[in-house]
């Protein structure tokens, strides 16, 4: 319940935060703290320095970026959920942000925090991945853009380097021809997904032009169900594509489910998510 002792600095700017990270190997960024602090309270994580970026209001925004909506990394889940720009142009992100944890968590947790945490059981990483988003990372040398396909590299591992900070996420504007769905099955409402599936489909004249399927808690990172996507692109029916959703995944066995059951759930939820997306 009580973390091990650590030092604490308040970042005055993203550059300041990055500089502090550069100076201290054992430092971590503190945003909402709802991924980091629980680990520290169980003494599973023991950073020697926390750099508090929670007051960098300049990184909390939802803006129209032309072809995309730009979301500042420090935007809280509640604000992502409520943002009119997202509700209109990228509703799957707004919707999914409303499923994270519970209201108290959504009042503090940030999109940047959850993406940089890299937990394959989290919801937003899957949606970001399914949308082929871009993530903007700032370091001592300046900014770089990482495509979501390259962002999640392992369990609790991302492309953000030790002296870098995720500053923005860019999600595509979905037009009227795009249908979407995020179906999350969890043991209780506030729990992580046992398995969840994100489906984003582009429809043209009644057929599927593009299908993206993201999977939560089916491997070491959020995954794309590429076999299913390819089948759909090749004209397969929803049932046929859904049967392939679990291909190439490596789910684990834990308190909520065995790997075998997760494989089954992925196919069932995949079918439902595709059907819902197509019908939206």
């Amino acid at each position: 319940m009580i973390p091990a002792a650590f030092d604490y600095e308040v970042a005055e700017s993203p550059e300041h935060a990055i500089a502090l990270l550069g100076e201290n190997e054992d430092a971590k960024l503190l945003a909402g703290g709802h991924s980091l602090l629980p680990a520290m309270k169980l003494r599973l994580a023991r950073p020697s320095l926390l750099v508090d970026v929670g007051r960098l209001g300049e990184l909390s925004y939802v803006r129209d970026g032309g072809e995309h909506i730009a979301i500042g990394a420090l935007t809280r889940h509640q604000d992502v959920h409520d943002a009119p720009l997202l509700q209109e142009h990228c509703p799957i992100v707004a919707y999914t942000a409303g499923l994270i944890g519970d209201p108290q968590i959504r009042h503090r947790g940030t999109i940047g925090g959850t993406l940089a945490h890299g937990d394959p059981a989290s919801d937003l990483p899957t949606v970001i991945l399914a949308l082929d988003s871009e993530l903007v990372v700032r370091g001592e040398e300046g900014e770089r853009t990482v495509p979501s396909a390259k962002f999640f590299t392992g369990v609790f591992q991302t492309a953000v380097g030790p002296a870098e900070m995720l500053v923005e996420v860019r999600v595509p504007k979905l037009g009227a021809s795009v249908g979407w769905s995020y179906i999350k099955m969890s043991r209780r409402a506030l729990d992580w997904a046992t398995v969840a599936v994100a489906a984003v489909v582009e429809r043209e004249n009644g057929s599927l032009v593009k299908t993206s399927i993201g999977l939560t808690n089916m491997g070491a990172t959020p995954l794309r169900a590429t076999a299913a996507e390819d089948a759909a692109a090749g004209g397969a029916s929803i049932e046929e594509a859904a049967a392939l959703v679990s291909d190439g995944t490596e789910p684990s066995t834990d308190y909520a489910a065995t790997a075998e059951f997760r494989l089954h759930l992925a196919r069932v939820l995949g079918r439902r998510a595709l059907a819902e997306a197509v019908a939206r």
Partner: protein, 785 residues
Amino acid sequence: MAITESIQTVVGTSVKRREDASLLRGRGTFVDNLTLPGTVYMAIVRCPYPHARIVTMNLDVARAAEGVVAAFSGADLAEDWKGSLPCAWPVTEDIKMPPHFPLATDEARFQGDGVAVVIASSRALAKDAAELVEIDYEPLEATADVEKALEDGAPLVHSDLGTNECYVWKLETDDFQAALDAADVVVTRRYFQPRLIPNAIEPRGVLAQVGPSDEVTIWSATQVPHILRFALQIVLGYPESKIRVIAPDVGGGFGSKLDVYAEEALAIALAKRLGRPVKWTEERAENYVATIHGRDTVHHLTFGATKDGKITAVKSEATCAMGAYLQLVTPGIPLLGAWIYSGPYEIPNYSVTFTGVFTHTTPTDAYRGAGRPEATYVLERTMDALAAELGMDPLELRRKNFVKEFPHTMASGLTIDSGDYDASLDRLLELLDLDSIRSEQEALRAGGGAQQIGVGYSTYNEMCGLAPSRILGAIRYAVGGWDSATIRFQPLGSVQVVTGTSPHGQGHETTFAQIVADQLGVDLGDVEVLHGDTAVSQLGMDTYGSRSLTVGGVAIWHASQKIVDKARKIVAHQLEVSEDDLEFANGSFSVVGSPDRAMDVKAVAFQAHSAHNLPDGMEPGLEATATYDPPNFSWPAGAHAAVIEVDIETGDTRLLRYVAVDDVGTPVNPMIIDGQIHGGITQGVAAALWEEGVYDEDANLLSTTMTTYLVPSAAELPSFETARTETPSPTNPLGVKGVGETGTIASAPAVINAVVDALSHLGVTDIQMPATPERVWRAIEEARQ
């Protein structure tokens, strides 16, 4: 003898709780809110292995850490204990009762067994220093499986015992086997009821101080301040008269705070050694290993019946996990259900056997229902199995076997004082609208979609109001089951009631005041109820087993009668009439036929105090104590139904409706009764669908936090539909029965019966609790083959 007539005014009404005033404002006095000047904080070092020899221990680094006042190993403190942490129920003569001291010395026997203690100036520094205790462990083999623990070659929890078998207890009617053999139909089923972790939202805590002449004061989050005082003398040697135990506001217990724990003894021993108050508060992860668990039993339940559904014999054989040590009531928990294996049914041949087994796990002990949910689960599940075997409607089978006439002496020897089981079931069916459920079920089945529904029942009774002391003596429980009340009429008319019960959410301050207000004819606001501090409440047997109203409340009733009787004598004397000429109503004694000749009971109180004109030989004051030993248990009963939706593709379940009809005798406060029922139902539903304390095959606890042990929130549950029938108990003058545990006793089988019903068309006949989505999916898959 003149009879007290009082017009019922507040008993039976839903008086709002006076406890709310402080709790709603955040002014509760929970133990962690308390400190004393100079308080130091205790942190326990716990063995991370399920079983290990403690080879070496080095406390030097810990002792030198910042803020550390002292650190001790189990061996360092061995001289402080005059006796073991007590087990109050040696259920058989040859029961194995290994010693159990607050810290292990050379062998730790479960993951979480305390092996050392560090005391520092703050909670944080104590925790930091606890990590610096260097221990060399030799891990040993361990088992958490209650059946495997009995096999040859199983790792032993207490090697000097040569076995993991703690006891075998049996109750059987004459010629039982012959009766079972003669049955037309015999049905046997096996059930495993997993370990449950009580999870009262307040973790345990203590604050202890020892004064210069060895006066001990301990605040503890306990349900049992009186029992704790008694037990602490056994463990520490201080005379009870010098021990003061205070249970301040306690944040829920459900049996998990009905115990005598290592930390309570440790805090006192350390307070004595250090000359400073010692405080300890459990972390939740610590609670999961250091506070008792419930259930963890394997049952084989057999019915013998005629082919038209009359059950002639019931046999239960259960293997029950004790855990690594015997806590206060551990071996007796199954016995609290020993007379419930016929439930509300009339079954002439009866056989119940319990085998208590040590495993390398946290000790088990009382958890809401304690023995009775286990019995009711196997009974109500097997009723459905028998009905299926006989091709009978499960409700018809139940009705056919209900006890119809009361009092009813069961084959097992105890007498059910009252009830009307058909009335409960009738009322349930009125509320349930079974026809609609069945048509909806048919339509969904015909539609072949993923969502299906089912309905399941649980008709139950239980025995509570613990307990008649003679029976406790006969079954070898170490102490009695009475309770005590002292009522003091203050000279200016306010009334102080001291009860031996110890509420922790049940609302006794409100409900007991209702009883006294009615009996004495005073306003509710004039009555104050005190509890939980052994300096104030000298006599009591505390709160558990749905006993507080049926024993404690009845003691209050009796004390009230003594007050009224004495008051009547004073009035008769002062008005110069005979006692028979007085009637007492609404707080006033008046002469029959001359109502203007009257005395208010508050005026009598002042008269008793000033003693200017009392009958010869009468002692001044208007105070009375009654200690009441119930002549029988109380027997609440009822009929519950659960309607559940199952997604047969994902295995996910949703409880759509839960309908509960309960007979708890004459109601004192219907609002509080409903609250107890809601809470009780929720814990049984949670056991059926979510909760499971899991150990791996090496006895490592896998359910270590609230993220993996699933206590449901409001989002998981519906609102409940409750109703009552009433057969007043003839056993006590209030007509009351208990209610604290009935919801938990009834609900788990109702839910599982509903899940099985939802899947019956797919060939599913059983499912292991909790019915997780995966278990539901696998049950469907297996039935398909």
